[in-house]
């Protein structure tokens, strides 16, 4: 199990940040992802693997200008 | 189209071009006012000067930028409002700005610097 924005989510081996965003349908482009308080650059979403028990924060910036 | 072609492998870093350019167009010798920039790199020198690609033409809100009869991209200063979008969007960063100049400036392929370049790293070309 991992936590995403405080909510529990099923984890599977090899799960990437991109997988999480797709599963949650987080399609907003202006997103900051932090795993266990460490920031992940946007160009590394596809390749960054998430580990079991990780605390993931997906921060959407403000929209609706 | 007329443009200043560069052969950086010939450059010796004398900086004559920069001083000549700023002297010619801004009446003072100041590398920050030159429309050509020579920078030292690991393998020698890099020369940054406008290649007249014209991408800036479509960024200008007042139609101040256009090509002259020889294809050289020129700024009509009477129309320029100094928004600097051309400088911001130049793919080679060859549109220059300076703290004490309100409007941007670029190489207009006059060729004066090429006359002051001993190793002939700068050549005015026409195709």
């Amino acid at each position: 199990m991992i936590k995403v924005n405080g909510e529990e989510m099923e984890w599977h081996p090899g799960m990437t940040v991109k997988d999480i965003l797709e599963a949650k349908k987080f399609i907003f482009p202006m997103i900051g992802v932090w795993i266990n308080d460490k920031p992940i650059p946007r160009d590394k979403f596809e390749t960054t693997v998430v580990n079991d028990g990780d605390d993931v924060q997906v921060i959407h910036m403000i929209s609706g200008g | 189209m007329k443009r200043l072609a560069t052969y950086p492998e010939r450059c010796v870093g004398c900086e004559n071009c920069m001083l000549t350019c700023s002297k010619t167009w801004f009446k003072e010798e100041d590398k920050k006012l030159s429309r050509i920039r020579v920078i030292q790199s690991n393998s020698g020198y890099e020369i940054n000067v406008c290649n007249q690609c014209g991408i800036c033409i479509d960024t200008c809100p007042t139609l101040a930028i256009g090509r002259d009869a020889l294809g050289v991209v020129r700024i009509d200063e009477s129309k320029c409002v100094g928004c600097l979008m051309c400088a911001g969007f130049c793919p080679t960063e060859s549109m220059f700005t300076a703290d004490n100049k309100e409007k941007p400036f670029k190489c207009i392929a006059c060729g004066i610097c090429s006359k002051e370049c001993p190793p002939r790293a700068l050549v005015l070309e026409q195709d």
């Binding site: 924005n5 405080g6 909510e7 349908k25 987080f26 399609i27 907003f28 482009p29 202006m30 997103i31 900051g32 992802v33 932090w34 308080d37 920031p39 992940i40 650059p41 946007r42 924060q57 997906v58 921060i59 959407h60 910036m61 403000i62 929209s63 609706g64 200008g65 | 479509d58 960024t59 200008c60 809100p61 007042t62 139609l63 129309k79 409002v81 100094g82 928004c83 600097l84 979008m85 400088a87 911001g88 969007f89 700005t97 703290d99 004490n100 309100e102 409007k103």
Partner: protein, 722 residues
């Protein structure tokens, strides 16, 4: 166009603009054609900064407590601000128009891009103040090149934005290129018959060879304009230069501007694609997050939403043209559809350039009324601009009408033949044309706005008032803008605890609240509802557009900063501090920036109070804004809403959908009251939403006339327990 008839002329002395200010404002009384040059004091600059601040200050001095929107005393005040008209930084051409609104019966302030704000200032005026009413349609011309103001009799039989604007750019320009030195404020015939009148402000597009229209859309400014018999206001000023504002530090302006241009060059494509698509990049995003208003905010998503996907508009908008609405805007989001052939109405068959649609129009005159046809939306956008109607109020208002029709509260007899179901494209377009023409009683009633429609539909047509109150999406008399607020307590506040009505000028907190879950307590929400409205409203004081603040962000923003700090885009906030200091020569900090805004925020709050509003009871919220009203809304997201009920400590088992709805409403209404308390407290207001004397003092706006208004309304029982 024939030579216009000159009614009066007034000459003025030129001034030098210094550090972003002309140092004076222009007052025109169009009842008696008198003119006045009013000096701007240091205190006025210090406390009110400019723009909306100046507008509110001038309006305060001009009206009585009892002034109504259609009294001659009401004013239209237009002002940019000290940063308005710089050319180096994206989004620097904005101005605000301040007036007493027909919809909300209190002050409204509406912003627009275009060239009017800068050209007005460089003509020598920090604000334009128009009071009175003319005895015939007039055109006011501010000739900044020759230092005079002329008032002409309007030659236009019908005042409609597109035709009037085009004609006046032509009339006052010496040649094609000169047209960019002109800006026209206009509205349309629809503003004569509706309280949803908008103002259009033009700029000339040299490449398209046509004027473009930006809108000060909301609040009914166009209605006030036509009530005063203004047909147009024109300003002309040649010779805009990079230092027209006479800034203290031009080099910094250049550096910061260049930095933003490069940021946009490098990152816009991966971020919000503003240069390609503009604000409609939000269409599919809002749909995905259940935030796209569908069928009068019943739902946040619709299966046909892909038909209005941003990619479709990208294909319609002409690409590769610098679409900034003032010089230097590389955000370039003023997209347009060119050579668009109109299929209906008075200009049927004509191929026109349509400004937009913006996201709000795609949603308001689209999903919210059940229409998912991009070409229909574009045509509706065009006619809304031409008739001078606010597309947001029009969309949300018509959505209300459609729901009333589907509920059987209205019928074909009442609507004079129109079958106004959701998605009834042809009939809805006809309704818009009728609003434009002003020849139909029902269309006229619609145009009075949701608040008055509720009264009329119940009194005249027997519709149940309580249901209308629940589904009529308005706050303080203004229609809600196009985001579904239901599922975010913070956004209830963002819409319904505002100064002027439910528009997202002040706050957009939905992601922060519900997706990021960064505002768990009421205090957290209140803190966000203190910081963001104050930060966002700062732009209104200085003449800037807020889109370059957060519709583009530095590459490392989300890495360097976490959480709410990242959402503030700290590097851009610093840009704005630097820009302000570079123009004015002052040395403000990020903290002072907020206080500048908080000062005017509270002044405006007291102004609303002065006009008979501005207390807790006026911060109304309809039930549709806080959750489902009818079973179909619950059933559309059954699991989600059942979970919401569980999270509220209520077991959904064995409850009918109606019972579940009622229980959730009761729970959420109690949450609303707690939010209101927390927000008022944080803002330094008492329980009734009135700024305390202490707050006025802290902000330096304890002027005698301001204190006097507040003192009349302060009651000991409204104080917080210590």
């Amino acid at each position: 166009m024939d030579k216009m008839k000159l009614l009066t002329k007034w000459e003025y002395k030129p001034v030098n603009i210094y550090r972003g200010y002309a140092g004076r404002t222009l007052y025109i009384n169009i009842s008696n054609f008198s003119f006045q040059e009013k000096p701007v004091s240091e205190d006025m600059k210090e406390k009110f900064i400019g723009g909306r601040g100046f507008g509110l200050k001038l309006l305060w001095d001009a009206v009585k407590d009892t002034t109504k929107w259609n009294d001659p005393e009401n004013e239209i005040v237009i002002s940019g601000g000290p940063l308005c008209g710089i050319t180096q930084y994206p989004g620097s051409g904005k101005c605000y128009t301040v007036f007493i609104s027909p919809l909300t019966e209190q002050t409204y302030d509406s912003n627009a891009g275009g060239y009017f704000g800068p050209l007005l200032k460089f003509s020598g005026w920090d604000a334009l103040e128009i009071q009175g009413k003319a005895d015939r349609d007039i055109i006011v011309f501010i000739d900044g090149d020759n230092n005079k103001v002329e008032i002409y009799e309007s030659p236009f039989e019908e005042v409609s934005a597109v035709t009037v604007t085009e004609a006046l750019h032509e009339y006052f320009a010496d040649n094609e290129e000169d047209k960019r030195n002109i800006s026209v404020v206009s509205t349309g015939k629809g503003a004569e018959n509706s309280y949803w009148g908008c103002l259009n402000m033009s700029f000339y597009d040299l490449r398209r060879k046509t004027p473009r229209l930006k809108q000060a859309g909301r609040g009914g400014g166009g209605t006030v304009f036509r009530d005063k018999k203004l047909a147009a206001i024109v300003v002309k000023k040649r010779g805009i230069s990079p230092s027209s504002n006479n800034p203290a530090d031009l080099a910094t302006l250049q550096q910061v501007g260049l930095k933003l241009h490069k940021e946009i060059r490098d990152l816009d494509d991966q971020q919000n694609r503003m240069r390609k698509v503009g604000t409609p990049h939000l269409n599919e995003i809002m749909n995905e997050y259940h935030l796209l208003p569908v069928h009068n905010y019943k739902f946040g998503q619709h299966k046909d939403a892909p038909k209005i996907h941003s990619k479709i508009f990208e294909g319609i908008f002409t690409q590769g043209i610098p679409d900034g609405c003032w010089y230097g805007c590389s955000m370039a989001c003023a997209k347009a559809a060119d050579k668009f052939e109109l299929k209906t109405g008075p200009l049927k068959g004509r191929k026109v350039t349509v400004d937009g649609p913006e996201y709000e129009t795609c949603a308001g005159l689209g999903s919210n009324i059940g229409v998912f046809d991009p070409e229909w939306i574009i045509e509706a956008n065009f006619y809304a601009d031409h008739y001078g109607l606010d597309t947001i109020s029009l969309g949300t208002g018509i959505a209300f009408v459609c729901e009333c029709y589907e509920l059987g509260f209205l019928n074909k007899e009442i609507t004079n033949g129109l079958e106004l179901n959701f998605g009834a494209k042809d009939d809805i377009m006809e309704l818009i044309h009728r609003m434009g023409r002003g020849d139909d009683e029902f269309a006229r009633i619609v145009g009075l706005g949701i608040r008055r429609m509720k009264k009329i539909f119940s009194e005249k047509y027997g519709a149940p008032r309580d249901v209308l109150e629940n589904i009529g999406m308005e706050g303080q008399g203004l229609e809600v803008s196009e985001y579904v607020p239901k599922e975010s307590v913070a956004q209830w506040g963002g819409y319904f605890l505002t100064l002027k009505g439910p528009q997202h000028d002040e706050a957009w907190l939905i992601f922060m609240d519900r997706v990021n879950k960064q505002l768990p307590t009421f205090e957290d929400k209140a803190e966000a509802l203190h910081y963001f409205p104050n930060f966002r409203l700062w732009f209104s004081l200085v003449g800037l557009c807020k889109l370059p603040w957060n519709d583009i962000e530095p590459a490392d923003n989300a890495i360097k900063y976490k959480g709410i700090e990242a959402a503030k885009v700290p590097e851009h906030v610093q840009n704005y501090v630097d820009l302000f200091n570079a123009v004015t020569g002052k040395k403000i900090t990020k903290e002072e920036l907020i206080i500048q805004s908080e000062r005017v925020y509270n002044f405006q709050r007291v102004f609303q109070l002065r006009l008979g509003k501005g207390t807790r009871k006026h911060h109304n919220i309809p039930l549709r804004a806080i959750g489902p009203v009818f079973p179909e809304e619950w059933e559309a997201r059954k699991d989600y809403y059942d979970n919401e009920l569980k999270a509220a400590g209520i077991d959904p088992e064995n409850l009918s959908t109606e019972e579940k709805i009622e229980k959730l409403q009761k729970y959420r209404l109690s949450q609303w009251e707690q939010l209101v308390d927390a927000v008022y407290k944080r803002r330094g207001w008492n329980k009734n939403g009135i700024p305390t004397i202490e707050t006025l003092r802290r902000l330096g706006i304890d002027y005698p006339e301001v204190v006097e208004v507040v003192k009349r309304h302060l009651k000991p029982e409204d104080e917080w327990e210590s």
